[in-house]
């Protein structure tokens, strides 16, 4: 609906950023629960919301979860709105019911939603009250995953931010490194091995796999963001005295090396040691990505806004896979956290912050890119128009970080091309 004139970020070799407002075809922050509830294995996420919220999470999760999930919705009903039932009493009753059923839960998140925010249900107060009752058997925290406050991956930011004030204070005994952002366990293990080889032994990951293993932080903590959507978490860590290391995000060989280098510099790792530790995996990552050069080289790609991972992904695809970037749509652009990635993007790359999905569809159809990265609601319709697509959500639900996943990341983008080249059946005209 509103288009702001493109403005160069700074200087003419930088990406060009245009801003839009209009209909957004994105998930809300509640969706983050789908990966967060698997990452923290003793945590439970209780959405306080409507039937829509419950339906959203199960639809986004594919309802294919074999075991009972560690999330649920306390569905607000007419009697809660009409004031017949006191919403806080009702919530206490639901939490009692839930914790009686799942005594193994050690950390309960009350997750705010659009309706709970519009009716101004104070979940922060509810969390404090319930925490008093259940702590230490179970801690109770709250955050908002509502669509009016958060877009998709910002739900993880809000969940992590809710945990920061409760992190234990570190004894001041020399520097330690904190890696911030949910990563697949296997990726964490790989990074931990690399940091050990670099001589950085005091490394913690946040969020932890269990809520009882919260990392201690303090003025001696330096942290690396593993994900580009953690604005509030980073801000709160800084208020606790921790220092963010500026780095590109660890996607692909270039990004991972830059990210590790930021830690190496902070810990005064000798360049020779850094080269020795990273040479083999760097070479492996480049070789793994090169396998997909035939499919990806010279192809154009268009990103619809989704996760805020778009800028580092575009950087990886342009610099390591030889793709041409048509447009990088991003729901939000955190210029400070993404400064290193932005600087590595090809000059003049077009970034669109915000969205108007209909206008973006028009631009995409006009540009006819070789590959479109978009949400699940748009993928099949665009395929039916003859465009190749990649579901953006897969990039959030797949281990893509670090050297050993660089090839997997390239493969995700190559697969639509490989698939299309295999299929000899033609679509019949409708």
């Amino acid at each position: 609906m509103t288009v702001h004139a493109p403005t160069p970020a700074a200087g003419c070799s930088e990406p060009v950023v245009q801003r839009q407002r209009g209909q957004r075809a994105v998930f809300c922050g509640l969706t983050g629960i789908i990966w967060m509830h698997r990452k923290i294995q003793d945590a439970f996420f209780l959405v306080v919301g409507s039937r829509t919220c419950a339906h959203l999470i199960q639809s986004a999760a594919g309802v294919m979860i074999f075991a009972e999930p560690r999330f649920a919705t306390a569905i607000i009903e007419e009697r809660d709105l009409a004031g017949i039932a006191d919403a806080h009493d009702e919530l206490d009753r639901v939490v009692d019911q839930l914790l009686a059923r799942r005594p193994d839960i050690r950390l309960l998140f009350l997750v705010g939603s659009c309706p709970s925010e519009v009716i101004k249900l104070d979940l922060g107060r509810a969390a404090m009250r319930l925490d008093k009752r259940f702590n230490p058997a179970c801690r109770v925290l709250s955050y908002s995953g509502s669509g009016i406050e958060t877009t998709f991956t910002q739900g993880e930011d809000a969940a992590l931010a809710a945990m920061v004030p409760g992190l234990p204070a570190a004894a001041q005994s020399g520097p330690s490194l904190l890696v911030v952002g949910a990563l697949a366990d296997v990726v964490e293990d790989q990074f931990r091995r690399l940091f050990t080889e670099l001589g950085i032994s005091r490394v913690d990951f946040f969020p932890p796999r269990r809520s009882t293993q919260m990392p201690a932080i303090g003025p001696d903590t330096v942290f690396l963001l593993a994900q580009p959507f953690l604005a509030e978490t980073a801000r709160l860590l800084e208020t606790r005295g921790a220092t963010r290391l500026a780095a590109p995000f660890p996607l692909g060989e270039q990004g991972t090396t830059g990210w590790l280098q930021a830690a190496a510099s902070a810990f005064n790792v000798a360049p020779s040691l850094f080269d020795a530790a990273t040479a083999a995996p760097r070479e492996r990552a480049s070789r793994a990505v090169a396998r997909y050069a035939p499919q990806l080289g010279g192809k154009s790609i268009f990103f619809f806004p989704d996760s805020q991972l778009e800028a580092p992904l575009a950087r990886f695809l342009a610099n390591e896979a030889g793709m041409t970037i048509t447009e990088v749509g991003m729901p939000y652009l955190h210029r400070q956290h993404l400064a290193q990635d932005m600087a590595l993007l090809p000059p003049g790359t077009l970034i669109t912050e915000g969205a108007d999905v209909d206008l973006q569809m028009d631009r995409c159809r006009a540009a006819r890119p070789d590959l479109v990265v978009c949400g699940l609601g748009l993928a099949n319709p665009l395929e039916a128009e003859g465009l190749n697509t990649k579901w953006s959500i897969e990039l959030v639900f797949t281990p893509i970080h670090g050297y050993e996943q660089a090839g997997d990341l390239a493969e995700l983008f190559a697969r639509p091309f490989i698939r299309k080249s295999r299929l000899l059946v033609e679509l019949e005209p409708a």
Partner: protein, 538 residues
């Protein structure tokens, strides 16, 4: 507040989207916050639709609240009209926008668009998806037909022309609606009846206006069409066929009703190709189906139909039925009474799971939710009702209605069951190492059960937390009963129980415990086990 793990139905505005998406040339402007667009993927991914859903969501954010959300809605309406040029527009609010009270109806009307604009009042905190679909179909039909209702005179029919009817109720995301319509249209054509309009699926606004031209209506999916056909009865004096043709007997009843209402010669029924189900059920291989204990859950229409097929056409024993459709709870309760079981009227997945665990059926006929429950409890399951997932929209022709539908049902219900001889062999040679609990029926293959995901492997399966059939630890001398805390199993009885094939073990356990409770036995021994077997039979 209600604690909900999984939900059978979405909110009512998702029902409205099912109507808009089913139709052609209808656009829905939905006042909704960012995130509510998730509903699109139900259609594009689960149903593999190749077009965007015809919905414009206002996707307002916190910064818009209190200032200009009404303005955003109004602009969304005029933009959608300009861009999509619909023949009619639905306008309404999702749960969050309902709280804002921006009055979408008034805002849309103020635009004076040159097309019918139909406001939808769908109370999100009281009603659910099927109600929303039904209400939307009714409101839209009523709005489009009201101009014809005044002094309506039915058009003269040419002499010798065939009787005609409308097929009402099929929607987007409906369980096998696409193929049901094809099947029932063929059946009606064979009888000599024309189909005037199918709606809402693939109908335009102009098609809706033609509804009164038909001689009668067929309410195929009462959850969606019942309110509308009642209005058509009152307004246009169109009678309704209410027999739902799922199963051989029900299809015959349906044909009888059509023949009678259309004034046809009963002999036309012979023109319809009959079902193979009656012979398949009588053939000797089907002996093993006798008395299989089934639990049935889903929407009311499909549950009622499935119960009749299960008892009269397959020779099963129905041990429990239930529905999440509260609107038709009475019908399901009546049927339960006839079957001598207790109806479960609930949309609480946990309650359904508990009932299935307690009843230990040999086959579950349900929705995708019951498929999960059955998988965890290691019971065979066939899907008979929405909500369903991507694998329930098969590429092949697979209706549920009509005689071909009965063929499809026969095949898909017996697929998860052990075949006759296989069951005997396992009974005789249960010591064979490949007949272990982990072995699935051979015809299902080793990979059975790992269904495709629409998204990705987001959630790794975690160890089942409530696998009630899980074998107890070997060293335990006694284990508590599942159904009665005052009864325990002796180690020898437990070992003997494990020799029973896993697919009937749950039933044997339950029968033994029931028998022990009846006899006042506190400790179950091998004797108790076989006493119970003698008492209950197979």
């Amino acid at each position: 507040m209600q604690l909900t793990v999984w939900t059978y139905e979405g909110p009512p505005h998702v029902g409205a989207i099912r109507i808009a998406t089913a139709m052609k040339g209808i656009h829905y402007v939905l006042h909704a916050p960012q995130g509510d667009t998730y509903a699109d993927l139900l259609f594009t991914m689960i149903e593999r639709r190749d077009h965007r859903t015809p919905v414009t969501y206002t996707t307002f954010q916190a910064r818009d609240l209190g200032s200009d959300t009404a303005d955003i809605f109004q602009r969304a309406c005029s933009d959608a009209f300009e861009r999509f040029k619909p023949d009619a527009m639905l306008v309404g609010a999702s749960c969050t926008a309902e709280l804002l009270q921006d009055n979408p109806a008034g805002l849309a009307m103020a635009l004076n668009l040159p097309i019918p604009v139909v406001p939808l009042e769908l109370p999100s905190y009281q009603k659910k998806e099927n109600w929303g679909a039904s209400e939307t179909f009714y409101r839209l039909t009523r709005a489009l037909l009201t101009p014809r209702a005044q002094g309506f005179v039915k058009p003269e029919k040419a002499i010798g022309s065939r009787p005609s009817c409308n097929l009402l109720g099929p929607t987007a995301l409906g369980f096998r609606h696409r193929d049901d319509i094809t099947e029932i249209t063929r059946l009606l054509n064979a009888l000599g009846v024309d189909v005037n309009v199918v709606a809402p699926l693939d109908a335009t606004a102009a098609d809706i206006v033609r509804i009164p031209d038909a001689d009668f209506n067929i309410s195929l999916y009462p959850e969606i069409s019942d309110v509308t056909v009642r209005w058509l009865e009152r307004t246009f004096r169109q009678p309704t066929i209410r027999a739902v043709p799922i199963g051989v007997g029900a299809t015959k009843d349906f044909i009888t009703e059509v023949v009678k209402l259309a004034g046809l010669d009963p002999a036309v029924a012979q023109r319809v190709i009959p079902s193979r189900l009656p012979w398949y059920s009588r053939s000797v291989d089907s002996t093993y189906l006798t008395g299989k204990r089934v639990f049935i859950f889903g929407d009311a229409t499909h549950v009622i139909a499935a119960a009749r097929i299960a008892t009269d056409e397959m020779g099963f024993t129905v041990v429990g039925i239930g529905t999440y459709t509260r609107e038709f709870a009475r019908e399901v309760r009546e049927l339960a009474t006839k079957l001598g079981v207790e109806a479960l009227i609930s949309d609480d997945y946990l309650e359904v799971e508990a009932r299935i665990a307690e009843l230990q059926p040999e086959l579950v006929l349900g929705t995708q939710m019951e498929r999960h429950i059955a998988k965890r409890l290691r019971i065979g399951c066939a899907v008979i009702s929405a909500p369903v997932h991507v694998q329930d929209f098969p590429a092949r022709y697979s209706p549920q209605m009509g005689f071909e539908g009965a063929n499809v049902i026969f095949d898909s219900w017996i697929h998860p069951l052990m075949m006759g001889l296989e069951e005997h062999l396992i009974g005789m040679f249960r010591g064979d190492f490949e007949f272990s609990d982990a072995a699935t029926p051979s015809h299902l293959g080793a990979g059975h059960g790992s269904h495709a995901h629409t998204t990705t492997a987001v959630a790794e399966a975690e160890p089942a937390t409530a696998d009630i059939q899980a074998a107890p630890a070997e060293h335990a001398s006694v284990i508590p009963s599942v159904t009665d805390a005052s009864i325990i199993w002796g180690a020898d009885a437990e070992t003997e129980l494990k020799k029973i094939p896993f697919f009937v073990r749950g039933k044997a356990r339950r029968n033994t415990e029931r028998f022990a409770a009846m006899q006042g036995v506190g400790l179950i021994t091998v004797e108790t086990l076989y006493d119970a077997k003698a008492h209950f039979g197979r």
